[in-house]
């Protein structure tokens, strides 16, 4: 009998890997056309991002933020919402974190200050996601366009706030003052000296905890069941007693909070001050991660590490090869979103044919 449906191993592994390879193949082609060797570039990248222990540390450091933005987009997707606004939510989360720091960092010890700042970032990130969620739930305004708009508004708003209120006297750099040492996330190189002088910090462990909590909540709780039902079929979810508008708003609040928490790694793990445009595209990377990782905790983790490697390796690559600037990786991001998101079933008919051929 002919198989008409793809088995689990095909949809969970074969398709995502084939999709990823397709994206990388196109990227390799472009790199070749730019006059560089894709193989050599790949070598530099892998060496810098994985083999070198300090490079690996940087890879995981970037991955820490990406896990949070990836979770942010994933949980919204589970509710059927395409939240493009993680970039803005991350940015505004940074503001919340900063306000907590500026108010409390001279007063509180580390073990109180860090949670306070985390709460600030989560709260502000959630706030920035609230209005698009509310508008979608209550007025049917398409969340894709509203969240994109909120990204732009966040950029303008933060520009204004930083320049007008946060730059310390006498400074030129568009950034806030440096936060007290108590606000620094403990670095992992204290336990693993091989990591060298790199910013990989406890946020990485927090990110893993977040992945586990996400996995348990979405697949093992009644609330997660209702979330997934809403994303799959709103009519049926209404029949089943789910309050759809409440679910949409709550999903967006959590999504925003997760994105906001990404700021903890970027700021408290690294710079220790709020700077203009610190998100640097991490929110959009979250979209690629959520699609590539199919909103599954393990998938999100692996995709985040992969992107961390691309950023870290890409940075070193851009230094050695000026024809491959870091913006190349934005292009690769777009390709991944295309192949893993919009064309996710491209290879499905071929795989089906293969399975049926082997069946004889």
């Amino acid at each position: 009998m002919k198989t008409t449906e793809l088995p689990r191993w095909a949809t969970a592994f074969a398709l995502p890997i084939l999709n990823l390879l397709s994206a990388l193949l196109v990227a390799a082609l472009v790199i070749y056309l730019l006059g560089e060797s894709p193989v050599e570039s790949l070598g530099i990248l892998v060496n810098s991002a994985v083999i070198n222990p300090e490079g690996l540390s940087y890879t995981l450091f970037y991955a820490s933020t990406f896990i949070f933005t990836g979770l942010s987009v994933s949980i919204a997707m589970k509710a059927g919402l395409f939240n493009i606004g993680s970039e803005g939510q991350l940015y505004i989360g940074g503001l919340g974190l900063t306000m907590a720091m500026l108010a409390l960092d001279k007063v509180l010890p580390a073990w109180l200050l860090i949670p306070a700042a985390m709460i600030g970032s989560a709260l502000f990130g959630a706030l920035w996601a609230w209005l698009p969620g509310y508008l979608q739930a209550r007025r049917g305004s398409h969340i894709v366009v509203t969240t994109i708009m909120f990204n732009f508004i966040a950029a303008s708003l933060m520009n204004f706030v930083i320049v007008k209120y946060l730059i310390p006297e006498g400074q030129q750099n568009p950034a806030s003052r440096v936060f007290a040492d108590a606000g620094a996330m403990p670095r992992l190189n204290a336990w693993f000296p091989v990591l060298g002088d790199t910013p990989l910090n406890v946020s990485f462990l927090l990110a893993i905890v977040a992945l586990v909590v996400y996995g348990v909540m979405v697949w093992r709780s009644a609330w997660g069941y209702q979330l997934r039902a809403t994303g799959l079929n709103q009519h049926a979810a209404h029949y089943a007693g789910v309050s759809i508008s409440r679910m949409i708003i709550v999903a967006m609040l959590i999504s925003g909070a997760l994105a906001g928490l990404g700021a903890v790694n970027s700021i408290m793990g690294s710079t220790h001050y709020l700077s203009l445009n610190f998100p640097a595209g991490a929110g959009f990377v979250g979209i690629a991660i959520a699609l590539m990782g199919r909103q599954h905790p393990v998938g999100i983790f692996l995709s985040a590490v992969l992107f961390g490697a691309l950023i870290q390796g890409g940075f070193d690559l851009s230094l050695e090869k000026p024809n491959i600037p870091q913006e190349t990786f934005i292009f690769i991001q777009g390709l991944i979103i295309l192949f893993c998101g919009a064309m996710e079933n491209f290879y499905a008919p071929a795989i089906l044919k293969l399975i049926n051929l082997r069946k004889g």
Partner: protein, 322 residues
């Protein structure tokens, strides 16, 4: 304060700002009325902006640049069509993918070819001339009429006239042509179109083709007419503003164009407002003024300005079901 605002220059600026959105919105209209969500307007604008600036610079001929822009934008639109129509993929994701990919690729290519930090060199004289209507000099001294004839109706580049001429043309095609009837049917009830013998796939591909062509002018206008060069991410959300104009105009050509003009007006006021002291508030910082179009978009989408109804079958890939 009002004198500072220079009403006259606001009117002229509005006319010159609107075409970017008009081209994009008309493009989006064709795609969306046929049932395909067009989130990739931004990417098409960027791609066309880069290519038209680059080709115009290399050939020192703006029209070759425009033609190149058409080619690239159309190719992207057909790719988008392939993903949405044939592969039946998620149209929102596909659109965002193209936007992000083009944002990166245009920078990389600009850097590769010109090494100027991801922008193309200044076009200098290789830009489109402002068309001067016959008799402008003769009436130039007559108050108001001189200004109206010389600067409002006349004195713009060819693409500006094309944009405004498009509006009634698009309206006619959508409502009074066979193509338009079939297009609208595919967007409202593709099963009905299919039952009537219309090929839904072909019609939607045609719509994407038209969208690609129209959208390209938005990019070439930005690069060749407004700035004279391509700059990273120069579209700055124009693609999304165009989508908002569609919502505002209920996917009808005339009202959508009105929305575009409205956004053009806000842009014009925005530039004038920088450096102007408002009574009681003082000077509004540039970064907050920058926010205005995006805030207006949210207001429109919240349904506070108009109640709008999207084409019924939009976003759903057509699968024959019996």
């Amino acid at each position: 304060m009002l004198e500072d605002l220079h009403l006259a220059s606001i009117v002229v600026s509005t006319i010159r700002n609107a075409p970017v959105l008009i081209f994009a919105a008309m493009a989006g209209l064709f795609a969306e009325r046929s049932g395909v969500i067009d989130l990739a307007l931004e990417g098409k604008i960027l791609a066309s902006a880069f290519v038209s600036a680059a080709v115009a610079y290399s050939t020192q001929n703006p029209w070759y640049g425009v033609a190149a822009g058409v080619a690239v934008s159309t190719a992207l639109a057909l790719l988008q069509g392939y993903v949405s129509i044939t592969q039946k993929g998620n149209q929102l994701v596909g659109g965002i993918a193209i936007n992000i990919a083009m944002s990166g690729l245009t920078f990389v290519l600009a850097q590769f070819f010109y090494q100027q930090g991801g922008r193309t060199p200044d076009l200098g004289d290789a830009r489109l001339v402002d068309l001067v209507l016959p008799g402008t000099a003769a009436v130039a001294d007559i108050p108001f009429i001189g200004w109206l004839y010389g600067q409002v109706i006349g004195g713009h580049s060819a693409l500006v006239y094309l944009a405004f001429a498009l509006i009634p043309l698009v309206h006619w095609v959508i409502y009074h042509s066979r193509f338009g009837l079939r297009l609208r049917a595919c967007g409202e009830n593709p099963h009905a179109a299919d039952a009537a013998g219309v090929s839904v796939e072909r019609t939607r591909y045609m719509a994407m083709l038209v969208a690609g062509v129209l959208c390209s002018f938005s990019g070439s206008y930005l690069a060749i007419v407004q700035s004279g060069f391509f700059l990273r991410d120069m579209s700055a959300g124009a693609g999304y503003l165009a989508l908002t104009a569609l919502v505002f105009g209920n996917w009808r050509p005339l009202y959508t164009a009105l929305g575009c003009v409205m956004f053009g007006f806000f842009s014009a006021v925005q530039i004038q407002m920088e450096g102007v002291d408002l009574p009681g508030i003082g000077r509004i910082p540039g970064s907050l003024i920058q926010m205005i179009p995006y805030v207006v978009t949210v207001v429109v989408l919240a349904g506070l300005m108009a109640k709008s109804v999207a084409p019924k079958a939009i976003g759903k890939p057509f699968v024959k079901s019996r």
